[in-house]
């Protein structure tokens, strides 16, 4: 099953193109279950094909596991503030135990999409961490992965708190309450409001999409049971009527299989993209939180700089020996301000939101198309199956 969202970086050429157009194409394949019981995990083959000069050679294959992808995501999130980092599939500690084929395939697909989105993002694809991820040997990767406690990892609880803060701030502003140390340009407010609302709507759609998958399975099961029961009835009749019953029963069972197949297709090609949409929106919320932090930091910095300047002047006047230290601090603060972290984030976010909207329209369009095709295919299959039964029934009833 091909991922629906893969896009090549820069050009639309195939990975094996010999032209000098730069390309970076990755595929996540071959999931293999390793380890036992609680320690069990899935490892994936990550194949990179590229002609980027920074990369070693045209092709490289490494083995990675889910936590490696998490490492990459976290690093990118820290380094590229303002950019909407592509989302990862959920950790899901429970399903891990069961590791159904379906779960494994869904995860593989999602991870493949994740990496390819990074590889096709004009900024993210330059990332050194990405290069490490795609090329480092397994021991190095393991070492890096286990280093990640504390410094770069934000605990989920912290993140949650930030989300809550942002949410309450959004609602405060919407309600007209004034709160200091919060940027409140109307465009940005609108965007935040949009993102938060969007999550609710998409989550609901995804919920129903998931249920729809279940319904397909249930209907398939019911048809199968019904078919079996009708067959039994047919067996005890014996004559032409019995034959008709058997045909009916057999048809029901055939259709049951069609339904199960469509349920899987629906899951992979309609529900998953919607889930991906939800994840993407959540990732944007994280970026929004980062922006709020950066804004606060900027305000604090402005304050701090003023104080430090006053302090420095004072110290210089009194010719204190603390001047050197104070000067250093002042310079530090000044250079941080010069980094214009917040402005960068704003600029990036504005670009990102455009890219996001375009991408989402395209992604959803594909998902809708697949949904429509799948349902049409199913309906046609059902219609045809029943139609083909009719002449047989006619033959039986005339006897």
């Amino acid at each position: 099953m091909n991922p629906t969202q893969r896009s090549l970086s820069g050009s639309t050429q195939s990975p094996r193109s010999q032209s000098s157009q730069p390309f970076l194409s990755v595929s996540v394949t071959d999931p293999v279950k390793l380890g036992n019981g609680v320690q069990a995990y899935i490892s994936y083959r990550v194949i990179t094909q590229t002609n980027f000069p920074e990369y070693q050679g045209p092709e490289k294959i490494v083995i990675r596991r889910y936590s490696d992808f998490v490492w990459l995501r976290d690093r990118l999130f820290e380094k590229y503030k303002g950019i909407f980092i592509p989302p990862l599939p959920e950790k899901s500690a429970v399903e891990k135990f069961r590791f159904s084929a379906e779960f494994i395939e869904m995860r593989r697909q999602a991870l493949d999409i994740f990496v390819n989105r990074i590889a096709s993002h004009h900024e993210l694809q330059q990332s050194e961490d990405l290069r490490t991820f795609l090329q480092a040997d397994e021991e190095t990767m393991e070492r890096l992965r286990s280093q990640e406690t504390g410094i770069f990892k934000k605990k989920p609880a912290d993140l949650m708190q930030i989300f809550k803060d942002v949410q309450s701030k959004v609602s405060d502003v919407v309600l007209g309450k004034e709160k200091p140390v919060e940027e409140s340009t109307p465009e940005y407010e609108k965007m935040k409001h949009y993102i938060f609302e969007l999550e609710n709507h998409v989550a609901e759609a995804q919920k129903h999409a998931y249920r729809l998958v279940k319904r397909h399975r249930e209907l398939g099961q019911s048809l199968s049971d019904f078919g079996k029961a009708v067959k039994l009835l047919g067996d005890c009749e014996g004559n032409a009527l019995g034959k008709a019953f058997s045909e009916l029963g057999a048809k029901s069972e055939t259709l049951s299989m069609k339904l199960q197949k469509e349920a899987y297709h629906l899951l992979m090609n309609f529900e998953e993209p919607l889930k991906d949409y939800v994840r993407a929106v959540q990732s944007i919320k994280a970026t929004i939180a980062e922006r709020a932090n950066a804004f606060r930091r900027q305000c604090e910095l402005a304050e701090t700089l003023k104080l430090k300047e006053i302090n420095l002047d004072k110290l210089m006047l009194t010719r204190s020996d603390k001047v050197g230290e104070a000067q250093l601090e002042y310079n530090e603060a000044k250079s941080e301000q010069a980094a214009k972290t917040f402005e960068t984030i704003v600029r990036l976010m504005n670009e990102e939101i455009v890219r996001f909207q375009e991408q989402k329209t395209r992604d959803l369009g594909i998902a809708f198309h697949e949904f429509a095709k799948g349902q049409a295919r199913l309906a046609n299959g059902i219609a045809e199956a029943w139609r083909s039964l009719l002449p047989k029934l006619e033959a039986c009833s005339s006897s």
Binding site: N2, T4, S7, K190, E197, L198, H201, V202, E204, K207, H208, A209, R211, L212, R215, H216, E218, L219, Q221, S222, L223, F226, K228, A229, V230, L232, L233, D235, C236, E237, L241, A244, F245, L248, V354, Q357, E358, T361, R362, L364, G365, F368, H369, F371, A372, K373, Q375, A376, A379, N380, I382, A383, W386, R387, L389, L390, L393, E394, C396, S397
Partner: protein, 527 residues
């Protein structure tokens, strides 16, 4: 029920969203409407692709000609049964039950305010000669108790026939349900029952049914009394049917034609019980055995049929539930997309969002249409597969008819062995009295009494045998009747079911193909 809520929501959404395509949510396109309910006979306009267009509205609707006549039935119309069992469709007996009304019990009761009960208006339209010939139309008010009486009388008069089972008394439900709901449920059940009676070739022209449908005022059929009161007056007027050789009363020999009931027939009941035990143990060889192998085979086959039918009926129920769930979830999905559409439209900053909103709207429309189609499909499926439940009811009637036969046989056997024992006693007495020279006056008198008892018993036995043969004959003819009917009924049921499924699948395919078309720019191949 979902119908109303979602209609409201659609209309609300309709207000805020650009009109063009949303219109299709609220309004139906011509090929896709709900008027299949109103019993129109013409199929909807032909769609170019399907050669089976005429099947989209299943045959059963063509039969629902008299929907307008039946003002009270609201979608539970069955294809009229009475036209089915008659080769000439011109004979009809249509009954409808309507207008439930509360009435007061007139007889004084201990509770002040009295007992209330409901009566129903039974309206009959017929052209049967027994009912007064063509164009007869009349009505009468009856209460449920009257229906019970009718049912009991029919059970007695039509032993061996497959008599439709009457609706339950269901006293528990009447406490639990809302009064209105319960009354409506009962009305529907009564209607179904009476129509089944009207469809039965023998019962439709019976005196009992005629009286029930025609005679205004109090129902002039004898009510069956309960066991307790029977026991009381049994002590007074016990017609000794089978006794231990005592006084010869004027026994109404035809009484044996009825199965032993409680109360006054206690004695007979005991004797027959003893006989059946004897039969089972195989102690004395039964004098009349069920020799009809064909019957026994048939009985076994029917038992098997009933078992599997029950299985199919169960699975049919779960199939219906799954279809319903599918329709509901599809509808909810559609609704979620309606909300998304509205949201994206209102909040659109970018061109691409407007494009997406259009896509979302298309998906919403398709999902909502599909949901409606599932619901329609399901309503039809229920009607078709309802036949299965009907046949489970028929199987009950068959069981009753077979019990009639068994109990009639038992009566014959009991009488036979009674005869045997009476004869042997008579012989013994005669032999004993002949030893005494000149005869023994008292013994001779006893012999005379015995001989009289033997005569009566012989007559009873003849009667019982006649009854048994009659029941056997009824069984046979009924079996033939339902064999044929069963074949037709099931063929029609499955044909209807299949046509239905095919028709609606076609309609759904059209909906989704349209959406695929609308989203074809996004196909993977063209990115």
């Amino acid at each position: 029920m979902m119908n109303h809520e979602t209609q409201q929501d659609y209309q609300n959404a309709h207000l805020h969203v650009p009109h063009d395509d949303m219109e299709t949510l609220v309004l139906d396109d011509p090929s896709n409407n709900d008027q299949s309910f109103s019993g129109h006979l013409q199929p909807s306009q032909p769609s170019p692709r399907s050669p089976f267009n005429s099947f989209l509205d299943p045959p059963s609707y063509a039969e629902a000609v008299f929907t307008s006549f039946d003002s009270s039935s609201n979608g539970h119309e069955n294809p009229d049964l009475s036209s089915r069992s008659n080769p000439s469709n011109s004979d009809y007996l249509y009954i409808s039950v309507s207008d439930p009304q509360k009435e007061q019990e007139l007889t004084n009761s201990l509770v002040p305010g009295g007992n209330t009960y409901y009566t129903y208006l039974l309206t009959t339209r017929t052209n049967l000669p027994e009912y007064g010939g063509p164009g007869s139309e009349f009505s009468v008010r009856r209460r449920f108790r009257d229906v019970v009486t009718l049912s009991d009388r029919l059970s007695e008069s039509f032993r061996g026939y497959f008599i439709p089972i009457r609706p339950d008394k269901s006293s528990v439900e009447s406490q639990v349900m809302q009064k209105q709901e319960f009354v409506e449920q009962r009305r529907v059940a009564l209607e179904k029952y009476l129509r089944k009676l009207a469809a039965h070739p023998a019962i439709r022209t019976s005196e009992e049914l005629k009286v029930f449908l025609e005679v205004k005022g109090k129902l002039p059929l004898v009510k069956s009394t309960d066991v307790a009161s029977r026991m009381l007056d049994g002590a007074v007027k016990l017609p000794r049917q089978l006794f231990g050789g005592e006084a010869v009363g004027a026994v109404d020999v035809s009484e044996v034609a009825q199965p032993a009931k409680g109360g006054r027939d206690l004695l007979r009941l005991f004797k027959e019980l003893k006989q059946s035990v004897t039969n089972d143990w195989g102690g004395t060889k039964p004098l009349v055995i069920e020799e009809d192998k064909e019957f026994l085979e048939k009985k076994e086959k029917l038992a098997e049929f009933e078992q599997h039918l029950s299985g199919v009926s169960q699975q049919a129920e779960s199939l219906v539930k799954s279809q319903q769930d599918m329709g509901e979830t599809m509808g909810e999905l559609g609704l979620a997309f309606v909300k998304l559409t509205k949201f994206e439209t209102e909040e659109a900053i970018f061109e691409t969002q407007t494009a997406r909103a259009a896509d979302l709207r298309n998906v919403a429309t398709a999902a909502v249409k599909s949901s409606r189609l599932y619901r329609e499909l399901n309503t039809q499926t229920i009607k078709h597969l309802d036949k299965l439940h009907e046949y489970l009811g028929i199987m009950l009637a068959v069981d009753n008819a077979f019990s009639d036969r068994s109990s009639a046989l038992l009566t014959v056997q009991t009488l036979s062995s009674e005869l045997v024992s009476l004869n042997s006693r008579a012989e013994k007495l005669e032999a004993a009295s002949s030893k005494i020279f000149g005869g023994d006056k008292s013994r001779l008198r006893k012999v005379e009494e015995l001989k009289e008892a033997i005569r009566v018993t012989e007559n009873s036995k003849l009667c019982a045998e006649r009854e048994y043969e009659r029941i056997k004959k009824n069984n046979r003819s009924e079996l033939e009747r339902i064999d044929q009917e069963r074949h037709n009924d099931f063929m029609n049921m499955f044909r209807g079911f299949v046509i239905n499924q095919a028709g609606y699948a076609e309609k759904m395919a059209a909906v989704w193909e349209k959406l695929a078309d609308e989203t074809s720019t996004y196909s993977k191949d063209s990115s």
